[in-house]
Symmetry: C2
Subunit: 333 residues, 2 copies
């Protein structure tokens, strides 16, 4: 019995589609693929390894015989169907926020805390896209100088809001080109030629859900429950990759040169930091790439043990689908 | 002899044009207007108070009889012609970076340090656009709790790069709508659907000129020569208004409620901070407005005396032309 029986729930979405492509690219040993989506996609097909696979609705018994189920259909769907998949014997790799902060569920970025996968009880959670891109350079920096405080300001692409977000930027921009009015439909405000400092819903402290995810998830992944994190998350009119400006304070001084070395050595992270050549990461250059890219590394002028840097990652790849497939690779190892 | 004889140098540029509009709007007592620009604009006309004014080149004797000369033609032009204008008896309001850090030249944001104008020796400098928008809320916050450290991350509109920057975003976006390739001409990299963490040239410490302007100018305006400032400046595909995410540390605690009161009371600053109503400042809402708008005010989760907020200002108005006209109003008072 060679190979893994895989299910993808939310297969028609941006993350679901990217998951199929990454399973192919990385030659994940898929023996059988089951493709699940919502009612309105039933009857459609998706393409996997050159073959057409019919899209099904999740029904009783849907997960029978499935080894690994990737969930990227949203939190409500994960809450409803993931326990069902676990009961049927599958391990769930969940891209939603449903179980991330559950203390019995590992929250995993394989380059950082692969060991945490071992303790799973049927579900392994994949962090929020902005968390993943931000935490990738924080890990080697913590190992170099022990993190004390992180101030993160994000520039998030519309793909983070799914296919609807991408369509909204596209259609508003085309309307602008035709000289027509730009009407917000999916986002609360115009996104073309604008920036919106509001992602997810507001909580009582004035922080958004997206901002609090960054705080709690970074702490859990790094196993630093008391790490001081100050987040600001902003939507920008970019299609795919997320950028984050990070100011980090460490217990011991990490020079810009040492940070560059530490970043360059870290798997999944690449250094683009050559001001003389106008080279630094940007969304259009990083889109479609698996690694996260870090640049603009400079010592903080305002604090002895401070460091500023800029990290960019494709939110559909390392920020979502790739990280999920990497977790699955750990599971079958 | 009623009224002021005014010259505008760089009259055909975005800031020059906006200066004319603001002189009209604020009924600045212009008795005579002289319009200067580079060789290639000579012979064109500009409209002021319903009349056409011929554009001239700066020639010997150009500033004879001029009371106030607004300069927005770039640093090289200011360096060359401003001393000539001063010699001819004019007071120069300079929008370029040429004289900002000259200790004999006041650097003025009228709501903050109007008193500094008094010491001028013929030139009053207007700060960088990002500095102005950032420093507006910093002043009332400093008065409330004494500033210790400021971490500022900017989202800067293309208008900050002048007419060429605006044209580049426009033409790249139209090319995208036609399905054509996007070729950078003015910016170093594609600006449509991208963000570029690089404005002005890089210095030795890894910071850009734009970032160091923010550090030095904020210190000079607030008269806090040792204030700790950590800057990151980023160009975003927005046409006109600049946004800045600010994390500020104060010597004594300033609650979110106190900060809101202090911001709301400060002239030139307006509060848009109502998460329940999805209300916060954004570039498309602030474009064309004179005031700077502040929102997303929340206490820092990572530091007892920390505060996060988000400020947006029209870079052509308060960020440039309006601030210049306000300085001129101080000069004629």
């Amino acid at each position: 019995m060679n190979g893994v029986r895989v299910a993808v729930v939310g297969v028609t979405g941006a993350v679901g589609q990217t998951t199929l492509r990454i399973l192919e690219e990385r030659k994940f040993p898929v023996r059988e693929l089951r493709a699940f989506a919502s009612e309105r996609s039933v009857g459609k097909t998706v393409t996997f390894q050159g073959e057409r696979v019919r899209v099904e609705k999740v029904a009783p018994g849907a997960f029978t015989g499935v080894d690994i189920a990737f969930f990227s259909a949203g939190s409500a769907q994960s809450r409803e169907y993931a326990p069902q998949a676990v009961k049927a014997g599958a391990v769930v790799v969940d891209k939603s926020s449903a179980f991330r902060m559950d203390p019995t569920v590992p929250l995993v970025v394989p380059e950082i805390n692969a060991h945490a996968v071992k303790g799973h009880r049927g579900i392994v959670a994949c962090p929020n896209c902005t968390t993943i891109v931000t935490v990738m350079p924080l890990k080697p920096l913590h190992d170099a100088g022990r993190l004390r405080r992180v101030i993160a300001t994000s520039f998030q692409a519309v793909s983070g809001a799914g296919v609807n977000g991408v369509e909204e930027l596209r259609s508003q921009t085309l309307a602008w080109a035709r000289g027509e009015a730009l009407t917000p439909k999916y986002f609360l405000h115009q996104i073309a030629f604008n920036v919106i400092p509001h992602i997810d819903t507001f909580g009582e402290s004035g922080y958004t859900g997206e901002e609090m995810k960054l705080v709690h998830e970074v702490r859990k992944i790094l196993e630093l429950p008391d790490l001081a994190v100050s987040p600001t998350t902003v939507r920008v009119p970019v299609f795919t990759a997320h950028s984050i400006a990070v100011n980090a304070e460490t217990a011991s001084k990490v020079s810009a040169a040492s940070a560059r070395e530490a970043f360059a050595r870290f798997p999944g992270l690449r250094l683009w930091d050559d001001p003389a050549d106008n080279r630094y990461p940007m969304p259009v250059a990083v889109e479609g790439q698996d690694d996260c890219f870090v640049g603009r590394i400079r010592e903080d002028l305002s604090l002895a043990n401070g460091l500023n840097f800029w990290v960019v990652g494709d939110q559909l790849r390392k920020g979502a689908a790739l990280n999920g497939v990497q977790i699955a690779e750990l599971l079958i190892r």
